[in-house]
């Protein structure tokens, strides 16, 4: 059974159709890249999956359960975690507390005490190499550290599905390689399905994703294994425009 299943999901803002009849399936443990130029509906799709918006049409199923109209705070305990394009740390709280919040209200939240959550946070801090910043206010971190912290916070939720919104944008290529390796390792260990949204940096997608879904003007145009998808002429067209036709020359 698919972990996440979207069926003919549409989301409109007034006359603008941000997501148009999108169907897709994500399997447990799968790594999927969602690719598309600016304005192609990626973020809206993420918001529909995490519950920030409810779609006008279609259904969202998670582990066989209809969650189309479930409020976001009820989705996190089911196992849907998320990071944001621009990191959104709880600025005045320390890195440790931020990550503990993830554990506290995530899938294990109901049986974790505050102290237990802080212990989970400590473990994750070691793994993501944030130990030096453990007791700093999250607002004082550098942008890259904030991203790392946000990923750590999402991992502390022990999600089954992790939505990563442009997690790699703005990072140095070396950092990206490290991050990619780390995320891949954790995802494999804990069987987390990852849906990473990517606008520009294809390198991260190629390195990680088993499957790529390409969105264009709200519609899904390609859903295929990575290599195949990136060579698809439709994808090339979306990113680079039409290939010149011989007769026109």
């Amino acid at each position: 059974m698919a972990l996440l299943q979207l069926e003919n999901v549409s989301k409109r803002f007034g006359g603008l159709v941000a997501v148009n009849q999108v169907s897709l399936e994500i399997d447990p443990g799968e790594f999927v890249g969602i690719v598309g130029p600016n304005g192609s509906g990626k973020t809206t799709l993420f918001n529909v999956i995490s519950g920030v918006f409810y779609p006008e049409e279609g259904t969202v199923m998670f582990e066989g359960r209809d969650i189309t109209r479930l409020p976001p705070f009820k989705r996190a305990p089911l196992g849907i975690g998320r990071t944001f394009q621009i990191p959104r740390p709880f600025a005045s709280a320390t890195v440790r507390e931020n990550i503990a919040v993830g554990a506290m209200f995530g899938t294990q939240g109901h049986r974790l005490s505050v102290d237990g959550s802080l212990e989970v946070a400590d473990e994750i801090i070691k793994r993501v190499d944030l130990a030096a910043h453990r007791d700093k206010a999250a607002g004082t971190l550098t942008p890259v550290e904030k991203k790392l912290m946000e990923i750590a916070r999402a991992l502390a939720m022990k999600p089954k599905l992790l939505l990563m919104d442009e997690a790699m944008a703005g990072m140095h290529p070396n950092d990206i390689d490290q991050m990619v390796a780390f995320i891949k390792r954790v995802a494999d260990e804990e069987n987390i399905a990852i849906v990473a949204m990517v606008e520009h940096i294809m390198r991260a997608v190629v390195g990680l994703a088993e499957k790529v879904i390409v969105l264009h003007q709200g519609s899904k145009i390609v859903d295929a294994p990575t290599k195949e998808a990136l060579e698809n002429p439709r994808v090339v067209e979306v990113y680079l425009g039409h290939a010149p036709e011989d007769s026109a020359c």
Partner: protein, 332 residues
């Protein structure tokens, strides 16, 4: 030991309250000042549970003190005829004050807590005035005539005990409420409630996606804060001064004072309301003695300076200064 250490930050708070108490007990003529300071500390401590921890500003906050005052007043004036109840009518009064402020906070919260930031502040700004006009206009609870229940108290408790209640025990009760509010604040801070409130204060949308039922936690903080306000009204405004008039107990400047105290001391900190209450109370007291009539004129720029220099409040600054030292664990 670790469990006990969690409660270390209460030490400076309780120490401050005890010092106020002993100074008031042992020095001639300053009990009135101490009672005012205790009231401001308690007001800050109660208001901080909501404003400090959630970041929402409730401009109608004084309404909770107002209905708390009415709760006590109603209990005393209406139940005094049942003689077998005796002094229990005061206990019932506390219960009624809590119930009434809780109900009002649920009604206000159900509507206003759907709004955010400035919209919430604007939505609440009319609550106290609205309540006052409701009481006066609909002539409920004696309308604008208010209630005077000195005689009722004398009848129930006897003249001497009633006098001691007004001049002494009411202040002690304020102290107990302040300490209780501080304790609850720390318990919240150390529990999931505190973490949830910090998260929603910093970024409500991110908090939601992280699995936090923000509405639930906002309502918890709102009701707790309102409950303490109700108790405070019942003691400081009903038992201490055994009368109640609508314009006095729904006066918006108490809300403003509560905001100033919390901001001055450090919103969301445990020690903040104590420091803020002391600084505000003492300056107000001496300014009104030495420069009567000018206190607000002088106070406004002082507050501006403090807020510009220490945006995190005095305790926020102290926290930053003591980071990494042994004092750190006492200042929260």
């Amino acid at each position: 030991m670790k469990q006990i250490q969690k409660y270390f930050p209460l030490i400076p708070v309780f120490a401050a309250y005890l010092i106020m108490f002993f100074l008031g007990e042992n020095m001639e003529g300053i009990w009135q000042l101490m009672s005012m300071l205790l009231f401001y500390c308690a007001l800050g401590q109660a208001f901080n549970v909501f404003m400090g921890m959630t970041g929402y500003v409730d401009f109608g906050y004084v309404a909770f003190l107002g209905v708390g005052t009415y709760g006590m007043a109603l209990s005393i004036t209406r139940l005094v005829q049942y003689e077998f109840l005796g002094a229990w009518i005061i206990v019932i009064g506390f219960g009624l004050a809590m119930v009434m402020s809780t109900l009002l906070s649920m009604a206000v919260g159900a509507v206003a807590l759907r709004l955010r930031g400035a919209y919430f502040a604007i939505a609440t700004i009319g609550v106290n005035e609205g309540f006052r006009f409701l009481i006066e206009g609909a002539r409920i609870w004696n309308g604008s005539e208010g209630m005077i229940f000195t005689a009722d108290l004398n009848k129930v408790l006897g003249r001497d005990t009633a006098a001691a209640l007004c001049t002494y025990w009411a202040d002690i009760m304020v102290l107990v409420i302040a300490a209780l509010a501080a304790f609850v604040t720390l318990v919240y801070m150390r529990s999931k409630i505190g973490y949830a409130l910090t998260a929603l204060r910093e970024d409500e949308d991110a908090a939601k996606v992280m699995g936090i039922n923000v509405t639930k936690f906002k309502i918890i903080a709102f009701i707790t804060s309102a409950c303490f306000a109700g108790l405070l009204g019942a003691t400081a405004w009903a038992l201490k001064t055994p009368y109640v008039f609508p314009p006095e107990v729904f006066e918006i400047h108490y809300t403003i004072e509560a905001i100033i105290i919390v901001m001055l001391g450090g919103a969301g900190t445990l020690l903040g309301p104590v420091v803020g209450g002391l600084v505000y109370g003492i300056s107000k007291y001496y300014l009104s003695i030495f420069l009567p009539g000018f206190q607000l004129l002088i106070f406004a720029p002082i507050i501006l300076v403090i807020i510009v220099l220490f945006p995190e409040g005095i305790v926020g600054m102290m926290k930053a200064k003591t980071k990494g030292t042994g004092v750190e664990r006492f200042i929260v």
